[in-house]
């Protein structure tokens, strides 16, 4: 028999090869497949859960960022509005120094021209205090009708304000002594010096 004829003969016998596999083989295959490829519905559910968790996380991050940004923004707005209102002479908005840093505003606003107002530790607070003091001083002189604003009057604060000692961080000077300059950090690089600070408000 020629090779080609023999090959064709064999091929004809295998044309429709089909051998029923054992029944257990299918379950074995899919059990093995489960190990490497989890069932699709579960995976899709996992994907949805992951997406939902991502959205919640993103929302929380946005909310947190907005909240964290708000006080600083409010401080800026408060300080700016304090200055603007100071120019106009309206105490209402200046008293809107409900900004935490500007809380010294009312006390400052209650003072008269030339009074010492407590210093605050942040620049924004100082700005607000200055603005509020300016507004207050104008209000007391030019538009007393507006004194009925939330800004407390000087008379309501019986106790005089104690000067606040401001902490400053300066480069360490080796010539200074601990007793004179304040606390020296063990590393000797920087020191904290307690400094009296006052702000004079001029009319």
């Amino acid at each position: 028999m020629e090779n080609q004829a023999f090959d064709r003969y064999v091929q004809s016998l295998y044309a429709q090869e089909s051998l029923t596999p054992p029944a257990a083989l299918e379950s074995a295959i899919f059990a093995r497949l489960d190990a490497v490829q989890p069932a699709a519905p579960k995976r899709r559910m996992g994907w949805w859960m992951a997406s939902l968790a991502g959205l919640v996380l993103a929302g929380w991050l946005v909310g947190t960022t907005w909240q964290a940004g708000d006080p600083s923004g409010a401080a800026e707005v408060g300080a700016a509005s304090a200055g603007a209102v100071g120019a106009v002479g309206t105490a209402n908005v200046a008293a809107g120094a409900d900004v935490a840093a500007g809380a010294a505003g009312p006390a400052a606003g209650a003072g008269k021209a030339g009074d010492e107002v407590p210093a605050v530790e942040t620049a924004a607070g100082v700005e607000v205090a200055r603005g509020a003091a300016a507004v207050r001083s104008r209000n007391t002189s030019s538009s007393p009708s507006l004194v009925s604003t939330p800004v407390p009057s000087l008379s309501s604060q019986a106790a005089p304000c104690e000067p606040v000692r401001k902490l400053e961080v300066r480069p360490f000077q080796r010539t200074g002594s601990v007793g004179e300059k304040g606390l020296v950090y063990p590393r000797g690089e920087r020191e904290v010096v307690a400094m009296p600070a006052t702000i004079t408000v001029r009319q």
């Binding site: 028999m1 090779n3 023999f6 090959d7 064999v10 091929q11 016998l13 295998y14 090869e17 089909s18 051998l19 029923t20 596999p21 054992p22 083989l25 299918e26 074995a28 295959i29 899919f30 093995r32 497949l33 490497v36 490829q37 069932a39 699709a40 995976r43």
Partner: protein, 195 residues
Amino acid sequence: MDADLAQLIEACKREERRAQHALYARFGAMMFSVSVRYTNSRADAEDVVQEAWVKVFRHLDSFSRNHSFEGWLRRIVVNTAITHYRKNLRHVHHLDIDEVHATPADLEAFKECEFTREELDRAIGQLPTGYGLVFNMYVIDGMKHKEISDLLGIDVNTSKSQLSRARKYLQEVLTRMSAVATPQQPLSTHGKSSI
């Protein structure tokens, strides 16, 4: 490719279990019979076909619609079987096949015989493993000598000579089968062997 099969493949790509079971129901028998042809035992065939199906479902994305899906499946089973054969090569006994020769008279007798598929399976099963692989790949699965040599890691001429010897050996076995009155009994004392 028919539309049903295309839909089934797409669903399998989405890893839908129901579609995967349907695909198995459609091609499971074919895959298993190919696996049986390339292995020494049914246990080995089951191992190979298991691994082949896992490969099919995991790499279905790489199947191109321009090709025959059945051919793609066959190739995966064959490749898996060859990998399995190489892994177990050290367990296979070696047998010198040079003494096997079919005489012209045997071939004449063979021409007049008609064999069933099962008889041919048994005859191919008696081929030394290396010869059986080359014969299966070339004659039944339609591969070229270059592909065979690449897959088996042998020279092209070696593939050709093994095919030639496999043909002669098979014809000799079939001739003896036709001469035996009870073909269900073992036909030869030759064990499963490799080159």
